[in-house]
């Protein structure tokens, strides 16, 4: 079995007791401390960059994040962008935003409400104002508040001139004008100059949080290496923004978030989809096999395909199929041929793949299906997050069709869970569904890099013909009930498989009623026995008590944050988080029985709740459900807990 402690997100620190104690200390919110240079110290801050989808907000956010990482803070990010590639400029649907929380202590969420909003135009201000804390800081590009933009973003009057923003600290910065002035010596067209204003804003933010510019300067130099005039202009805008903030005293004061006490080691920033791609390649390497990834482009899963396509020198073969069904079909074909067959998609793609996934169940082939869940039903909200596919992947196929279902809980956890998906598929000869989420896919956090030599190999055996022995394609391993993975091309093992009901042992077509029941039972038992091959569920906090929060997938961060906040208020609540949903960890029933109530927060209308109530009818389970395309806020968790206690 894979040592999962390696991959737990807590491995930023270790999952040990000492660390937990430290969390408690760190989360006691400290009052801002004035330091000797007039810089105020804060324990955590949430910043949101918002602008038109063409304003480069994701890039700005990424740069801010990278520098935050280099300066030793823990962080979590939340990119939130529209499905439209370039919605009309200045309109509400065109707003793209990027939120980051960075902190002195360990965190797993991008923060609930933001402390600071950088708004590049009236639409960005309008869309994001509801998400700003009272007394929060707004930095706006006042140049963009002209009549035309105000009309397009449905402001009745200019909010910079009326009472709309009276509860906030508003810093009006003529970003376009200042950038233009700063770049007047640069040989650029006016439109190009205007595009540098995000770096001006970023420079201001770097000053505000006492950050260095080096990393972004390096990045700009590399990024625009072929256009030296753009390098110079962007760096000039960045520095001008920094100096403007420094000299003009436009901003109230400078803040500093002390370094986070993280476990020693080498770290990088990673998003869920990146971690998934890297995890798959690592798993293929651990198994000594070719990785085949058959996929049809779909938001928010596509960048797994993009990432993998770049790694041909790792023996990765990507196949952009003609449709979702073909993506599943090629993946089954690749697994039949002995490769690690993986397909990736989102909810609508799962619908289309379902029949073929049933074939993989019947043929008992090891395929991995990555579902990066998004808003539904139908096309829904493609760029927004949900957890609404759980019941679909559990039951959305014809016939009795059990598959393994696992779910990562943080962006970096996608790495370890991708390896787990491959390990379980190969060891148990079964399809495995990896339920990721749009939120995890795009959000980034620091990842303490594992030692490759510590990762256990994935053992794979393919049968060969034995003299005088008949080969049975549906013979089973005594312990796991896995059937042999005999590869086409192996002398003496010629056999036929398919979607028709299989006779035990031979795999021949069979309509025998008793045999059919037996095979149904065997396939179900095979999946259930995986409970012996996965870690038991751990409870953070008291092992017995009034209330357990049981989460799964990407709600981990919000639940963690909620519990920390409650703990700060003297309310102790326990937390267990499911990485494995089918089968459940074998101690789950015992864990649940130790609590009077179990709260299950989910970004759906109660999928896990239904499964838990069905499997453990004695448990008093209640839900916290939200389907708004957004992750939970920690505050929503705390509010529900208080209702229940």
């Amino acid at each position: 079995m894979c040592d999962l402690t390696l991959f737990l997100p807590l491995s930023r620190g270790s999952a040990g007791k000492a660390l937990r104690e430290r969390f408690m200390m760190d989360t006691e919110k400290e009052a801002a401390v004035k330091t000797e240079q007039g810089i105020q110290e804060l324990s955590a801050i949430t910043v949101r960059f918002a602008g038109d989808s063409g304003d480069g907000m994701q890039l700005t956010g990424d740069q801010f994040t990278d520098t935050t990482a280099m300066m030793g803070n823990d962080f979590a990010t939340f990119p939130d962008y529209p499905a439209e590639i370039r919605a009309p400029v200045g309109t509400l649907p065109g707003v793209s935003s990027f939120q980051i929380q960075f902190s002195k202590s360990i965190i797993f969420t991008p923060g609930d409400m933001s402390d600071v909003l950088v708004a590049m135009n009236p639409a960005a201000l309008k869309v994001n104002l509801t998400n700003l804390k009272k007394n929060g800081l707004i930095i706006v590009n006042s140049d963009a508040f002209n009549e035309n933009n105000l009309r397009k973003s449905a402001w009745k009057s200019n909010p910079l001139l009326d009472e709309t923003l009276k509860d906030f600290q508003v810093i009006k910065v003529p970003l376009s004008e200042l950038t233009k002035n700063a770049l007047k010596e640069h040989p650029l067209k006016l439109t190009e100059v205007d595009r540098c204003k995000n770096f001006f804003a970023l420079g201001m933010m770097f000053w505000l949080y006492d950050r260095v510019l080096d990393h972004t300067v390096d990045w700009i130099t590399k990024k625009f290496a072929k256009k030296p005039e753009m390098v110079n202009a962007n760096i000039a805008a960045l520095k001008a923004g920094y100096n403007y903030a420094d000299i003009t005293e436009t901003l109230p004061t400078q803040y500093r978030i002390p370094k986070t006490k993280m476990e020693a080691g080498v770290y990088r920033k990673i998003s869920g989809n990146e971690a998934t791609a890297i995890g798959l390649i690592t798993a293929a390497n651990l198994a000594g096999k070719t990785l085949f990834y058959g996929s049809y482009p779909i938001t928010p899963a596509s960048n797994i395909l993009h990432d993998l396509a770049r790694y041909k020198n790792f023996g990765v073969r990507t196949f952009q199929a003609e449709d979702e069904i073909a993506a599943m079909g090629t993946t089954i074909g690749a697994a039949y041929g002995g490769a690690i067959g993986v397909t990736g998609t989102s909810g609508p793609g799962i619908c289309l793949k379902s029949e073929a996934l049933g074939l993989a169940v019947m043929a008992e082939l090891p395929v991995i299906v990555i579902d990066v869940q998004r808003g539904g039903p139908s096309t829904g909200m493609p760029t927004k997050t949900e957890q609404t596919d759980l019941l679909q992947v559990m039951f959305g196929r014809n016939g009795e069709s059990p598959v393994v279902v696992i779910a990562p809980k943080t962006p970096s956890d996608c790495f370890g869970m991708a390896i787990e998906a491959v390990r379980l598929a190969l060891t148990h000869m079964t399809p495995v569904v990896f339920l990721s989420e749009g939120y995890l896919a795009n959000a980034a956090e620091p990842w303490k890099l594992p030692k490759i030599e510590d990762l256990p190999k994935i053992e794979v055996k393919h049968p060969v013909a034995e003299e005088g022995k008949t080969f049975y394609p549906y013979a089973r391993d005594e312990k796991t009930l896995a059937r042999p993975w005999a590869l086409p091309g192996t002398p003496g093992l010629e056999h036929r498989i398919g979607g028709l009901s299989k006779a035990d042992l031979t795999g021949n077509v069979s309509y025998d009623p008793e045999n059919n029941q037996k095979m149904i039972n065997l396939r179900a038992e095979k999946v259930q026995r995986i409970a012996d091959d996965i870690p038991e569920l751990e409870v953070r906090g008291e092992q017995k008590g009034k209330l357990l929060i049981l989460g799964w997938g990407g709600t981990f961060g919000a639940i963690f944050q909620g519990i920390e906040e409650l703990s700060g208020q003297g309310i102790q609540v326990s937390h267990a988080h499911l990485n494995y949903i089918n089968p459940f960890p074998k101690n789950l029933g015992k864990v649940l029985a130790n609590f009077e109530k179990v709260l299950i927060p989910e970004l759906n209308m109660g999928h896990l709740l239904m499964l838990i109530r069905n499997s453990f009818p004695g448990v008093n389970a209640v839900g916290l459900n939200k389907v708004k395309g957004l992750p939970f806020y920690g505050a929503e968790i705390t509010a529900r807990v208080k209702e229940l206690l």
Partner: protein, 344 residues
């Protein structure tokens, strides 16, 4: 010539080597029996051992085919066989892979996959068994049924215009395209052999008789009494001759094919000479437009051209990536471009 050379080298395999132990369960008189036997007989002619073959099928009567071949076989789901075969090919360049499909499986529910499989030129042999009817679901009209076909689902006759399998193959730029028939095993064997030898996708339409639901649908063309005048067996580099004593041929009139007297000295100069190697698809498409009852129907190889295969190109890219970047270093991959260290 020494007497030794007169004795042919014994073939390593017999037809029986390719027969599985499963009882064949097609209807008595079904054209699939002949296709199965011809396939087994043809494979026995090659030196490739049986474990190097994989037969992949979808759903339909003909898709039971893999069960009866003592090779590797995968009876998949409706219309999707080309996708499973493509995935298999991408990870195993050595197998001989055959896709067995039908007019419903390949041209209706699986039409999309068929098109894309062919335009990619994946090295597969695709046999489309065309009987112009849904057999396994007990006799509904299929996408190749002629207008007016009366079935259970079209009691007043079908109104949708049929699709021409070979036109789809040409439009998809398949590199090997052929037509044969269940009742001429020798011709079928020749076509199968050529399909196997072709590098890239080979698409073969086999006109097959469904004795239960669409009996004799092809008889007006291939029936014993009609075939001389209504079938053309094409040969590369030769005129398209047919009729009694091969007295008729095809000539071009503008952009149309038309029947000509093969012996007319004047017409002779304008006769169409069969060219499988034509790089453009126009000529092959013209041949597919020769349909009963207006024209005699061509059989044999319509097109046999070379184009790099998808699977080759994939391996080439992999090789190039290895040459320029070296074998992937897992540590570098995990570390990425930006890391920072937290000291104890």
């Amino acid at each position: 010539m020494s007497p030794d050379t007169l004795v042919p080298e014994p073939l390593p395999y017999q037809k029986a080597d390719f027969e599985s132990n499963q009882e064949v369960r097609w209807c008595p008189g079904c054209g699939d029996y002949s296709i199965l036997a011809t396939m087994q007989r043809t494979l026995a002619k090659f030196k490739r051992p049986k474990h190097e073959y994989a037969f992949i099928s979808g759903i339909g009567c003909s898709s039971r085919f893999p069960y009866y071949m003592n090779t590797y076989g995968f009876h998949t789901i409706h219309g999707r066989a080309p996708t499973i075969a493509s995935g298999l090919r991408c990870v195993n360049p050595n197998l001989s892979i055959w896709v067995i499909t039908g007019d419903g499986d390949g041209l209706s529910i699986g039409g999309n996959h068929l098109i894309h499989c062919m335009r990619r030129n994946i090295n597969l042999n695709i046999l489309l068994v065309n009987n112009e009817i849904y057999g396994l679901t007990k006799g509904q009209y299929s996408p190749t049924s002629k207008v007016g076909t009366v079935t259970k689902s079209t009691p007043m006759g079908s109104v949708d215009y049929p699709i021409n399998a070979l036109c789809i193959a040409i439009a998809s730029e398949a590199t090997f395209i052929a037509r044969t028939l269940d009742s001429d095993p020798n011709h079928m064997s020749m076509v199968l052999e050529r399909a196997e030898k072709h590098k890239g996708v080979s698409f073969v339409e086999i006109l097959q008789n469904c004795v239960i639901f669409n009996d004799k649908v092809h008889a007006p063309v291939v029936g014993r009494e009609n075939r001389e005048d209504r079938m053309i067996y094409m040969e590369h580099g030769k005129p398209l001759l047919f009729g009694k004593n091969k007295s008729k041929a095809i000539k071009l009139n503008g952009l149309r094919a038309e029947v000509a007297d093969a012996n007319d000295a004047e017409a002779k100069e304008h006769l169409l000479i069969h060219n499988e190697k034509d790089a453009t698809p126009n000529y092959a498409y013209l041949l597919t437009q020769m349909t009963y009852p207006e024209m005699p129907v061509p059989f044999g190889v319509f097109r046999d051209i070379e184009r790099p295969t998808y699977d080759e190109l994939v391996l080439d890219q992999e090789k190039a990536a290895l040459e320029t970047r070296g074998k992937g270093d897992l540590k570098k991959l995990i570390y990425g471009s930006n890391t920072w260290e937290v000291k104890a």
